[in-house]
């Protein structure tokens, strides 16, 4: 028997597998037993109705997909009246994700959403295709600090901050979020990309730019998780390109306490459940009694090949 539970600050998850925001809804009850998940993460909501971006909203690319949905939302009233009760038919903790374009909006949103029936507040300051001048706080440490600081003051509930891989120095952004009082970091959102259709000579998706997700981004995000985990003390939730058990292990070895899964659900709708089962088996096989012991357990040395007389180290 493996202890599959993980603790993210005050929140205990029965296993480290959660969906990524925007890649989950109760519609998935069509194909899986939602109650088996470590947590539920709702689609990012904004205060008011947003239609989102014009289709096509997604396209296949070499390492996965790009998308620009444009954060469509029916607003927070609808969220609490209809969506939250719908989520509450299921037992895992509910993470509510919010977005806003100004720091004042964000503070007010946080206050209004956190007092509702959610267990954790996820702050999406990193949607890559929002207006780059307004919405994307996670590109800069100061902006991140400012917005998280205000949000922190609005609630006692755990606040998770979702970072952006488009930041030039994600480590200082992570540290800023920690200083401002974040309880955990989600590393990370999608990488900004562009695909041009060479038949039509036009962008492949309606919003031109889209966020890259799927297996191809994993090496980049694993690196960021590793860097952030060494720089902050709060738990990190790894997110990006997880499609198999070993990917979860890789993120945890790099320093993640738990993970979020997006793309896989599009390909294998009950893949998250198969990963929960497979992760437990992996731990049994490898003799890990607690999945939490994987966190940060990478052996931080050169690979095991003996390089009897290794090359001079880099200058």
């Amino acid at each position: 028997m493996v202890d599959m539970s993980v603790k993210i600050g005050s929140v205990t998850l029965k296993n480290p597998i959660m969906p990524g925001s925007g890649c989950f809804s109760t519609d998935l009850a069509q194909v899986m037993d939602i109650n088996r998940l470590g947590a539920m993460v709702a689609k990012t909501v904004s205060r008011d109705y947003r239609a989102g971006n014009p289709p096509p909203r997604a396209a296949e690319v070499e390492g996965g997909m790009i998308n620009s949905i444009g954060l469509p939302t029916k607003g927070i009233e609808y969220f609490f009246e209809h969506q939250v009760p719908d989520y509450r038919r299921f037992t895992p903790p509910l993470v509510g994700s919010i977005s806003a374009t100004t720091i004042e909006d964000f503070e007010a949103m946080a206050r209004d959403v956190a007092k509702g029936d959610i267990d954790v507040l996820e702050v999406n300051i990193s949607c890559p295709t929002r207006d780059p001048k307004g919405g994307n706080f996670a590109l800069h440490a100061e902006h991140t600090y400012d917005v998280v600081k205000l949000i922190r003051a609005t609630t006692e509930k755990p606040v998770w901050v979702k970072l952006s891989p488009n930041a030039g120095d994600i480590v200082t952004v992570a540290q800023a979020a920690e200083r401002a009082g974040a309880n955990a970091l989600v590393v990370s959102n999608t990488i900004l990309g562009l695909k041009i259709n060479t038949d039509t000579l036009r962008p492949a998706i309606g919003n031109k730019f889209g966020g890259l997700s799927g297996p191809g981004i994993k090496p980049v995000i694993v690196r960021m998780v590793y860097q952030c985990a060494r720089a902050v003390k709060i738990p990190i939730i790894g997110c990006g390109g997880i499609v198999k058990v070993e990917d979860v292990v890789e993120y945890m070895l790099a320093g993640a306490t738990a993970v979020m899964i997006g793309y896989l659900t599009f390909r294998n709708p009950s893949g998250m459940i198969a990963i929960i089962d497979g992760l437990e088996q992996w731990c049994v096989k490898r003799g890990f009694k607690r999945v939490a012991d994987l966190t940060g357990a990478m052996i931080d040395e050169a690979p095991m090949e003996t390089f009897a007389a290794a090359a001079m180290p880099i200058g």
């Binding site: 890649c23 069509q30 689609k43 989102g52 997604a58 997909m65 949905i69 799927g214 390909r267 497979g278």
Partner: protein
């Protein structure tokens, strides 16, 4: 040793007992053995698979999201939606009729009898037949004919008469004719002899309305024909249903990739083709 690049646990059709489920889970990922797979004409293929009990519960207008094998060394990252073309419950089979257009469908075309097709479904909202209807009109073109095909079954089962107006480039591409012939009457309209012109189709519709053989309209596959049917339907207050397409990512509802525009009481809204459709009210749909 690392496992396969993806972790999933599809139901293996014909090879494993379905596990007991604590809650009703209507759709599933399943590996379905291919029974037969053949060319219907130069562009379309007909695929028959052995289905799981859940998959067999599919209704006309619903679809499956198929994991097409790659036709080359590159990976395919999206599934491809295909509506069910025939449901053969006695034999435990579902059938698809699809057009080879790009990498996904070219990859799908590589499957041979005995191979497994990985499919997720049944998904979406299918066609609805009102038991008070006596005679319906189906108007399809291109891949839309595949989607409309199983209406013939629905109509037969419900004792409703059908006129199927099947529009195509030439006689080779009038598919599903046999299915509809079993259930009612087939009118082929072709580009080759000009009968497929919107004007002519309008005349046919008007004729059917005059004959009171048009209690409801169904269409799929051509925006032009959809707009025609919508207009004629509105003018004659004939209820209608349209099956729509859109690029999909999840096929299940969460991702909001597959939206199309609808209009209700003058207000525009976006709906997801995969879960609020693919079959929608014809008057609310705006087109594509």
């Amino acid at each position: 040793m690392a496992t396969e690049p993806f972790t999933s646990a599809p139901v293996m059709v014909g090879r494993s007992a379905a596990a007991p489920e604590p809650r009703p889970i209507p759709a599933e990922e399943s590996l379905c053995p291919v029974i037969s797979h053949s060319w219907v004409n130069a562009e379309y293929r007909h695929l028959v698979v052995e289905a799981s009990p859940k998959a067999l519960a599919v209704t006309p207008g619903q679809f499956f999201n198929l994991l097409c094998p790659s036709p080359d060394v590159g990976e395919l990252f999206f599934r491809r939606p295909q509506s069910v073309y025939r449901i053969d419950r006695p034999k435990g089979r579902v059938e698809f009729l699809y057009k080879c257009v790009g990498r996904g469908t070219r990859g799908l075309a590589t499957l041979k009898a005995g191979d497994d097709l990985n499919m997720v479904g049944p998904l979406g909202v299918g066609f609805h037949l009102d038991p008070t209807w006596r005679h319906i009109v189906v108007l399809g073109r291109g891949v839309g004919i595949a989607t409309l095909g199983p209406i013939s079954q629905l109509a037969k089962d419900n004792g409703v008469g059908v006129t199927a107006i099947l529009s195509a480039r030439d006689a080779d591409f009038v598919m599903a004719g046999a299915l509809f012939a079993e259930a009612g009457e087939v009118v082929s309209v072709l580009d080759t002899d000009g009968t497929s012109a919107v004007d002519n189709v309008e005349k046919i519709l008007d004729g059917l309305i005059a004959q009171k053989r048009a209690d409801a309209f169904f269409t799929c596959g051509s925006n032009r024909l959809f707009q025609l049917m919508k207009r004629v339907g509105r003018a004659n207050t004939i209820p209608g249903q349209v099956a729509m397409e859109q690029v999909m990512a999840c096929g299940l509802g969460p991702c909001y990739v597959c939206v199309r525009t609808f209009e209700v009481d003058g207000k525009k809204e976006l709906r997801r083709v995969c879960i609020e459709g693919p079959v929608f009210d014809m008057q609310e749909a705006v087109g594509w």
